[in-house]
Amino acid sequence: MALEDIRQRTRYLFLVVILGHILLISAQVNSRRGVPVLEAVTFGVFSEVQRAASSVVSGGRNVWSGYIGLRQAHAENQELKRQLADAQITMQAQQALADRARSLEQLLELRDRVHVQTTAATIIGATPPSPTPDFRTVTIDKGTRDGLRPDMAVVAPLGVVGRIVVPAVRSAKVQLLIDRNAAAGALIERSRAQGVVVGTGEERLRMEYVSEVADVVVGDIVVTSGIDGLYPKGFIIGRVEAVEKNGPTFKRISVRPAVDFLSLEEVLVITTPPPAREGAEGTSE
C-alpha cells in the first residue's frame, strides 16, 4: 500500500514537472503570429472560458428578458385588447347617440315643419310580420298618461307610419299603414288625383279608388289628403311604383311606402286632431 502510494505520488509529481516544463517552454516560444505560446494558449483558453461564461450569461439574460418581455407583451396585449373593446363599445355608443341625435333632429325638423302638436315616442316592440302578416303593429313607449288617444296619427320624418289603435297608460299599440286593415285618404301630389291607400299586409301599399282618367304615373308621390279624419293633410305616404288598369272605372296603383317600417325607432304622435275629425268631434259634442 505504501509502495503504491509512493508510485502514485511519483506519477503526480511527474505530471506536475511535465506541466511546469510545458509552461516554461510556452513562455519563451512565440507562435507563428508572434505571440508567446503561453500567452496565446492562456488567452485562448481564457477567451473560451469567457466565451462560455458570456454565452451562459447572455443566454440566461436573453431567456430572462424574453420571458419578462413576453409577460410584458402579454400584459400589454391584454391591456390593448381591453382598450380596443372599450373603444369599440364607446364607438358603438357614440354611433348610437349620433343616430339617435340624427333621428331626434329629424323628428324636431318634422315637428317644426308640420306645425301641429306632437309627442315623440320610441318604438319598444313590434309584432313579427311572418306569423301574422295581416296585423302589422308596433308598440310605442307613450300612452294615455302622455295624452295619447285612439286614432291619433303616427308619423316619421320620412312619412306616415300609422295610427294608434290601443292606447295603454304608458304605452300604445300603433297600427302600421301596411296593415291589411289600415287605410288613409291619399292623393297624388303632382296631379292631385284622390284615392284611398290601404295596407296589404306586406311591404307594399295599394291605392284604390283612383279614377281611370286620373293622371298617375310611376314615380308620383302619394301624400295624405286629410279627408279621412285621421292623418293631417300633406304627409308623404310613398311613391307610385306601378299603375295598372283595374276594370273600367279605377286604376290599380301599387305604392312603395316612404317609411321603412322594419327600421323604425323614433316616431311622432300627432296629438292635434285633424280639422275634419276636430269638426266631427265638436259636432258630436
Binding site: 511527474f14 514537472v17 510545458i22 517552454i25
Partner: protein, 170 residues
C-alpha cells in the same frame, strides 16, 4: 550522501559536456554525458530520482545552451522517469540490457528534444539528424555501460587493494 553523489555526477557531467560541446556530429553533440547520468540515476535510484535528476540537469543544460529553456529539461525528465520505471520493473544488470536501455533512452531523448524544437519551429537539425542521433545513442550506450562497469568495479578494487596490502606487509 546518495543525493550528493548524484549532484556531483551531474555537475561533473555538465562540465564535461560543455567541454565536448564543440564536438558536433551533424549538429548533434556526439556524446551526452548528462543524459547518461540521468539514465543511470533512473535505473539505479528509481523514477522519482531519475525524473528530478533529469529535470535539474536538463534545465541547467538548457540554461547553459542557447536554446529554449525547458525543452531539454522536459526530454530528460521523461527519459529519467521512464528509466526509473524500467529499472524498477525489469532486471537491468547485464551490459547488453543496459546498452539497450541507454541506446533507447538516447533515441527517445533525441525524438523528444528535436521533435519539440521542430514542432515549435524554433530550430532545424539538418537533413539527416537520425545518423547523428544513432551515433550519439551508440556512444551514450557504451558510455553508460562503461560507467556501470566502473562504478560496480570500483568498490571491489578497493576491497581487493585493502586485502592485498596486509599480505604484502607480511
Amino acid at each position: 550522501m546518495r543525493a550528493a553523489g548524484i549532484v556531483l555526477a551531474v555537475a561533473l557531467a555538465l562540465a564535461i559536456q560543455t567541454t565536448l560541446a564543440r564536438f558536433l556530429v551533424h549538429g548533434v553533440v556526439a556524446l551526452d554525458f548528462v543524459l547518461v547520468v540521468v539514465v543511470y540515476v533512473g535505473l539505479t535510484s528509481g523514477p522519482a530520482s531519475g525524473m528530478l535528476t533529469g529535470t535539474v540537469a536538463g534545465l541547467v543544460q538548457d540554461a547553459l545552451s542557447t536554446g529554449v529553456i525547458g525543452i531539454g529539461g522536459l526530454a530528460k525528465t521523461i527519459v529519467g522517469f521512464l528509466g526509473g520505471i524500467i529499472g524498477t520493473q525489469f532486471i537491468v544488470a547485464q551490459p547488453l540490457p543496459r546498452f539497450v536501455v541507454f541506446f533507447g533512452a538516447t533515441l527517445l531523448h533525441a525524438a523528444l528534444f528535436m521533435g519539440l524544437y521542430v514542432v515549435l519551429d524554433v530550430r532545424e537539425f539538418g537533413t539527416r539528424p537520425y545518423v547523428a542521433v544513432l551515433w550519439q545513442a551508440g556512444a551514450n550506450a557504451v558510455a553508460g555501460v562503461v560507467a556501470f562497469q566502473i562504478v560496480e568495479f570500483l568498490p571491489g578494487a578497493v576491497e581487493r587493494r585493502r586485502a592485498a596490502k596486509p599480505r604484502l606487509r607480511r
